[in-house]
């Protein structure tokens, strides 16, 4: 009877733990399956906004047509009349596009229109020998576009785009936010924790402060976002000439959000330091601050690292508070006193429009997961080396 009971209880624990794992694995699989197509180096390095070029090729004296040799590329439709190879493609916004895959060196597209390989052509208006207008659209594909090109003698209008859909700006914003926030929040939080745990008398006053810190940990971040909008945005507008949200006001808002966590984690690590270290140091005639900074703090490094990791995770993941404080406009050029979006808010913006872009969102999610993973790996390595040097 007892065996059956034990078995039953064991099975329950197995099932619940595997359920938890399963959910995580499914989530990761979902994100990776949907996002992996877009994941490449150019996603990180390129701008979000496309550059648009409007050009024409009408000056017949300056170019000649025909006898451009075909490089025979797979899946590329080639116009030997114009010396251009086009391919069907899908861009990061999940729309059908036509990409230039090959340009002959003397092709008018290169010499006159100054387009380059990798640019996308969204629309061309052409005229044939008889003066009939031909209109080729990217959504119809590369094949009819090349067929029209072969007929055409002049191109009255080309609308081409390059780049776009990248997350360079948002990634930079996120990095700026991490650095700026940690620079402000870590010293403040660590010093506050040291004061609370090492210097302050444990009385009603510190009790109230601790309770307040506990309460702030639970406040939804959107409320901090409001505080950021009401307090920090005007403050920054006055001091660093921003208009509306900015990375600076975002970092200040995040500082407020993170302080309780940093204080609590640091204080926990201070608590874990044996009191005998303090006693030994004081008994040797060290002052309280010498004791704190020479003995206590070096031993609390692991806790402080944990606090840093938690903070970085929180900064990367925070979206609600930043919608107000930093803004929702996806930017390519990033400055501390300007609006932009962090990666999380970038996802929010992508999903918020009329056509939610799941694929790019998932790709960004993968990048966020990678950053978090790398950070925690780094902290693990650092803490391991610290442990090695300390307890040998």
């Amino acid at each position: 009877m007892r065996k059956i009971k034990d078995l039953f209880l064991n099975v329950i624990t197995y099932v619940s733990s595997s359920f938890g794992c399963l959910v995580l694995i499914i989530l990761l699989l979902f994100v990776f399956k949907n996002g992996i197509r877009l994941l490449d180096w150019s996603l990180i390095t390129s701008d979000y906004h496309q550059k648009t070029y409007q050009v024409n090729i009408t000056d017949t004296k300056n170019y000649h047509l025909g006898d451009y040799s075909d490089p025979q590329l797979d899946g590329v439709y080639y116009s030997s009349v114009w010396g251009i190879g086009l391919q069907d493609d899908i861009d990061r916004n999940n729309e059908k596009i036509v990409t230039i895959r090959y340009l002959a060196p003397l092709s008018p597209f290169a010499t006159i229109a100054k387009l380059e390989v990798g640019y996308q052509i969204s629309k061309m208006t052409m005229a044939d020998e008889m003066g009939n207008n031909l209109l080729a659209l990217a959504k119809n594909g590369a094949e009819p576009m090349v067929a029209d090109l072969d007929e055409a003698k002049i191109i009255t209008d080309i609308i081409a785009t390059s780049g776009g859909g990248g997350i360079r700006g948002s990634l930079l914003t996120t990095l700026y936010l991490i650095v700026l926030t940690l620079v402000i929040a870590l010293p403040l939080g660590i010093c506050a924790a040291i004061y609370l745990h090492e210097f302050a008398k444990q009385n009603q006053f510190t009790h109230i402060i601790r309770t307040m810190i506990d309460i702030t940990t639970g406040i939804p971040s959107i409320i901090f976002g409001l505080v950021g909008a009401i307090v920090f945005i005007p403050m920054m507008n006055k001091t660093i000439q921003s208009s509306g949200g900015s990375i600076a006001s975002g970092a200040l808002t995040l500082t407020i959000i993170l302080l309780p966590t940093i204080i609590k984690t640091t204080e926990e690590s201070l608590k874990a330091i044996p009191n005998s270290y303090r006693m030994a140091s004081l008994a040797l005639g060290a002052s309280k601050s010498q004791t704190t900074f020479k003995v206590i703090l070096p031993n609390a490094v692991f806790g402080i690292l944990t606090a840093t990791l938690l903070s970085i995770g929180r900064i990367i993941g925070e979206s609600a508070a930043l919608i107000y404080a930093v803004g929702t406009a996806i930017k390519d050029s990033v400055a501390i006193n300007e609006k932009s979006t962090s990666l999380a808010v970038h996802i929010w913006s992508l999903m918020g429009g009329e056509n939610p872009n799941y694929e790019l969102s998932c790709a960004i999610s993968i990048i966020i997961l990678l950053i978090v993973g790398l950070v925690s790996l780094g902290v693990k390595l650092i803490s391991r080396t610290i442990n090695k040097t300390e307890v040998k």
């Binding site: 008398k201 444990q202 044996p274 005998s276 270290y277 006693m279 030994a280 140091s281 004081l282 008994a283 040797l284 005639g285 060290a286 002052s287 010498q290 020479k294 003995v295 031993n299 040097t389 300390e390 307890v391 040998k392």
Partner: protein, 249 residues
Amino acid sequence: METIFTISDLNLRYDQNQVLHSIDLNIYKNKITAFIGPSGCGKSTLLRCFNRMNDLIDNCYIDGNIEFANKNLNEINPIELRTKVGMVFQTPNPFPMSIFENVAYGPKCQGIRNKATLNRIVIDSLKKASLYEEVKDRLHESALGLSGGQQQRLCIARCLAMSPEVILMDEPTSALDPIATLKIEELISTLKKDFSIIIVTHNMQQAARISDYTAFFLLGEIIEYGKTVDIFKNPKNKKTEDYITGRFG
């Protein structure tokens, strides 16, 4: 005989709980004074009065007078006092740093930066604590890798590095095995030449072996104080006799 500490009418309480009752005591210079008595009788508390470690306890109230070298203890800056009155604790508590850094910690806190001076102090202190020969090849390795007895001698060396006048020892061997204990006891006997030592101990044989003077505490009062030989050979008080013969305590 020169006295280094003079205590008169000392009362100490934690909030409402009185721990020490009107203590009068003279501690003699360059002697080993042992405090014996059952647990909770206030001997460690009294020991912490000598270097004002009780100041660090919020609810501790002290009345009475303690003089250190004819100067009222309360008029001496506690930080300065603790450089002259060192302390060794019950459990070895080296800092999680290298052996060298452990010993150099005190002098560094006093602002000594010169490498050669620090080096000299560290080696001298380790030699005085008869630890140097055992650790000379690994001065820059972590102190936590030493054995318990070595750690305790390191703590003594750390204390000696401040060249104090008095060393307070709070049951320094209670966490150690008999061999390590013996080494520490030998060390204490040699240190007597240069330092005044006050040692709290639960080990009656230890008190008899190493100390010159012994004070017997019971419930926060000094029952008997005198030369160790007298206390152990012919105690005047019945309670002392009962305690040292093991009839209670």
